[in-house]
């Protein structure tokens, strides 16, 4: 019956040829493996549930099988969307799968030669005019830039700007060590890359898909199909999981609404939890009774439940340098959504210097207008990054803001010059506040390659935060667990 199901309904997983129930289970396990690669946390127990579920539905009916597997494997709205795409991509007749694999091979071959050509070109260009440090900076860029996209760059005005930036940095000795130069080169390189990607997409040479290789061609093909379909969606769930940097202007109203909703939810939770109390807390009747049984029931020794906690205070320090400006707007919007329950938020932006921006938010204006006037008047947006100088200025001018009730939230990708000195400043701040929460927009896997980040982590709790979902989770967990 299981094999009939595979043949008749057209559900032909690549590894399931002839062979009955075991093949079906193997196919199902492979499908679960793909789901995990796509971010769905399907456990072994849930995989077993999936097998059990199939025994209760008509496995000749594709939609019943899909509904049954979805019910036990996809446990959120976003997971369901990923599941639907993965199911439709994975359970296809063998001939369609063969055609798709063939197309993919051709595409990869074309992309491979294009990338090689670009890499050669980039290395040549960097090494021109005695740029002997070129190869090294190229290697460093590998850490901070998505490799595939970086390599698809072509000559153009943005390329010129990129090399001008690098030349300027070479002339300035303060830009050593090279990691900082690589960090600062991100912004012009991003513009260059975007321009070239647009061209590449237009001619169909390079798909705008981030590939996650499993080492199995069939699985990679399904994963790429799903991720490319997810990338073009723009509903609330997609925005929630999208890198904030990549939220396009047309999606901003939806993103704003989503941030409002998320921050309001969190504010409600905090306000319920953090009511001020001057007394010792509620009487713990259970412990009191047990304690006083030996006194004949007379309530002599009272036991209390622990005291409720107070509202947190926040100092927000946002990196608004070239690579971070987009993130900062979203984070600030979120934090200000909490102003109903978070006492006296103090905000600062920095790139090369520190600037206090709290007064902008005290005006009664819409957030969009506040941000646009802030960006217009501030000198910091889109510059290089010097966290040390900014923290020194903070400690000199705003030390009074630091107290044991304060949470300092730093939003930065930690790509700064004078990082070790900045770590020292961070140490000093840490000794004066409740906690430092660092929201890092770089992927967690990249942290271990960055000595600066390893140094900063000694004095703060660092969280990956490049999507609104991550931002919401970090703030929810940290602010409710103080």
């Amino acid at each position: 019956m299981k094999n009939n199901f595979l043949k008749t309904v057209g559900m032909c997983p690549p590894c399931c040829g002839e062979g009955g129930l075991n093949n079906l289970i193997r196919g199902l396990v492979e499908f679960v493996h793909i789901l995990r690669r796509l971010g769905i946390k399907a456990s072994v127990a849930e995989t077993k549930d999936a097998v059990d579920a199939l025994s209760w539905v008509d496995i000749m009916d594709r939609e019943e099988v899909k509904a049954a597997l979805r019910a036990v494997l996809a446990k959120s709205r976003y997971d369901r969307k990923v599941f639907n795409l993965a199911f439709d991509a994975y359970f296809v007749p063998p001939e369609i799968r063969r055609q798709r694999l063939e197309l993919r091979r051709k595409r990869l071959a074309a992309k491979g030669s294009a990338l090689q050509e670009c890499e050669d070109q980039l290395v040549r260009a960097i090494k021109e005019d005695d740029r002997d440090w070129g190869k090294e900076i190229l290697n460093l860029l590998y850490l901070t830039v998505e490799e595939n996209e970086k390599m698809s760059i072509r000559p153009g005005p943005a390329k010129k700007q990129f090399f001008e930036t690098i030349d300027r940095m070479r002339e300035n000795s303060s830009n050593d060590p090279l990691p900082q130069a690589a960090g600062n080169a991100e912004s012009p390189l991003t513009r260059w890359r975007r321009q070239m990607l647009k061209q590449a997409v237009k001619i169909g040479a390079v798909p705008p898909v981030k590939t996650i290789s499993t080492g199995v061609e069939e699985q990679d093909e399904v994963i790429e199909t799903v991720t490319s379909s997810l990338g073009v969606d723009c509903d609330s769930d997609s925005i929630l999981h999208k890198n904030m940097k990549k939220i396009v202007d047309s999606d901003l109203p939806r993103a704003t609404l989503l941030i409002k909703k998320l921050s309001r939810r969190l504010a409600t939770r905090i306000s319920r939890r953090y009511s001020r109390k001057n007394k010792r807390g509620r009487l713990d009747i259970r412990r009191t009774i047990r304690r006083n049984t030996s006194y004949g029931g007379a309530l002599i020794d009272l036991k209390f439940q622990s005291r409720r906690k107070q509202k947190p205070r926040l100092v927000l320090i946002c990196d608004v340098s070239g690579s971070m400006a987009r993130y900062a707007v979203f984070v600030m919007q979120f934090i200000y959504g909490l102003s109903r329950v978070v006492k006296g938020i103090e905000s600062f932006v920095f790139s090369e210097e520190l600037e206090r921006v709290t007064p902008y938010f005290k005006k009664v204006e819409s957030f969009a207008r506040t941000m646009s006037s802030l960006m217009e008047k501030s000198d910091q947006w889109g510059m290089g990054t010097n966290l040390h100088a900014s923290l020194v200025a903070f400690l000199e001018k705003h030390r009074r803001l630091l107290s044991p009730a304060v949470f300092v939230i730093i939003v930065s990708d930690a790509q700064t010059i004078q990082a070790y000195q900045a770590a020292g400043d961070l140490h000093e701040i840490r000794s004066r506040v409740r906690d430092i929460i660092w929201l890092n927009t770089l992927p967690r896997e990249a942290w271990k390659h960055s000595p600066e980040i390893i140094e900063f982590q000694k004095y703060c709790r660092m969280f990956e935060c490049s999507t609104l979902d991550q931002l919401n989770k970090v703030l929810s967990n940290q602010m409710l667990n103080v």
Binding site: A45, V57, V72, P253
Partner: protein, 297 residues
């Protein structure tokens, strides 16, 4: 209906007989939860019929519905059991006055002094019950972790009495408005169902079942207008199904046979509950366009 003889089609028919209009996918998910003996976790926007599933199940299986309404600060005492402290105090006093000797602790912490709360009541029930844990996203992480034991093993531990296992495993339905994401541990133990806003066709059927006085034409116009409002990007609180039904009823009460511009202007506040959203719809869609589009065949 008997759990052992349950089929997907049979369950679907029963849902429709109870006035719960739904697709087969929803029925399959509920069916699997029942057959696998796992709790059903239902997520979705407010007012799409999450809680109703538990009520319908209790009617279908002729089982008592035990409801645990969740809120921030809910603890074991209110969800599981509590000792009857007043009765215990009285007993201590009486014992002291009548015999003068102290009462043994084991006598004081026995079933006689136990106040059953919804979870314990569901577990100790000898009959099949439907346990509705409503708005589980409102509880704190600690309580959610405590629910693990109940939902995976259907047993609870009371320090003074030991472990109490379920006499008959209840049908458990958890609902969540997604105010926060639930833990992986809880989700792993459940079969998951997400209920989205209905299609126009489905909503027409729902309105006709719940407000038959509205008739086919008005039901369709209301469903189309509501669908348009929900699609409006700037609307913060999208209208629920119950609000669509209320809108249809309101229009009938005003004697409006059709969703004209005038009728829509008079009743828009039934379906949109804050000024910001009303302004957004006025700006983005406009009442005239809303009525025209709803009336379009």
């Amino acid at each position: 209906m008997n759990l052992e003889d349950l089929t997907v089609d049979g369950l679907h028919r029963s849902f429709e007989e109870q006035g719960y209009i739904c697709e087969k996918e929803l029925v399959i998910t509920v069916f699997l939860a029942l057959k696998l003996g796992k709790p059903l976790l239902v997520e979705g926007a407010p007012g799409v019929g999450k809680t109703e599933i538990a009520k319908v199940l209790s009617r279908i299986f002729d089982a008592e519905l035990i409801r645990l309404q969740c809120y921030e600060g809910l603890d074991e005492n209110k969800a599981l059991y509590e000792w009857n402290y007043q009765k215990q105090l009285l007993r201590i006093q009486l014992q002291k006055e009548s015999s003068g000797c102290e009462i043994a602790e084991r006598d004081l912490f026995s079933y006689e002094y136990l106040l059953e709360r919804p979870l314990l009541k569901a577990i100790r029930s000898k009959q099949l019950v439907v346990l509705l844990i409503d708005e589980v996203d409102k509880v704190e992480d600690e309580f959610e972790a405590f629910l693990f034991e109940v939902l995976s093993d259907f047993q609870v531990s009371i320090p003074e009495l030991g472990t109490i296992a379920a006499e008959r495993i209840p049908l458990v339905v958890l609902t969540s408005n997604r105010e926060r994401e639930l833990s992986d541990g809880l989700k792993r133990r459940c079969v998951y169902l997400f209920i989205d806003y209905p299609t126009v066709e489905k909503e027409v059927r729902i309105i006709q079942v719940k407000a038959p006085e509205a008739g086919e034409r008005l039901s369709r116009e209301v469903a189309k207008a509501v669908s348009l409002i929900r699609a409006s990007k700037g609307v913060g609180k999208k209208p629920s199904i119950s609000e669509s039904i209320d809108w249809a009823r309101a229009l009938v009460a005003l004697g409006a046979g059709s969703l004209t511009q005038e009728a829509a202007e008079q009743t828009l506040n039934i379906v949109l509950k804050n000024k910001e959203d009303i302004d957004t719809v006025m700006r983005e869609v406009g009442v005239k366009a809303l009525a025209a589009s709803a009336q379009k065949a």
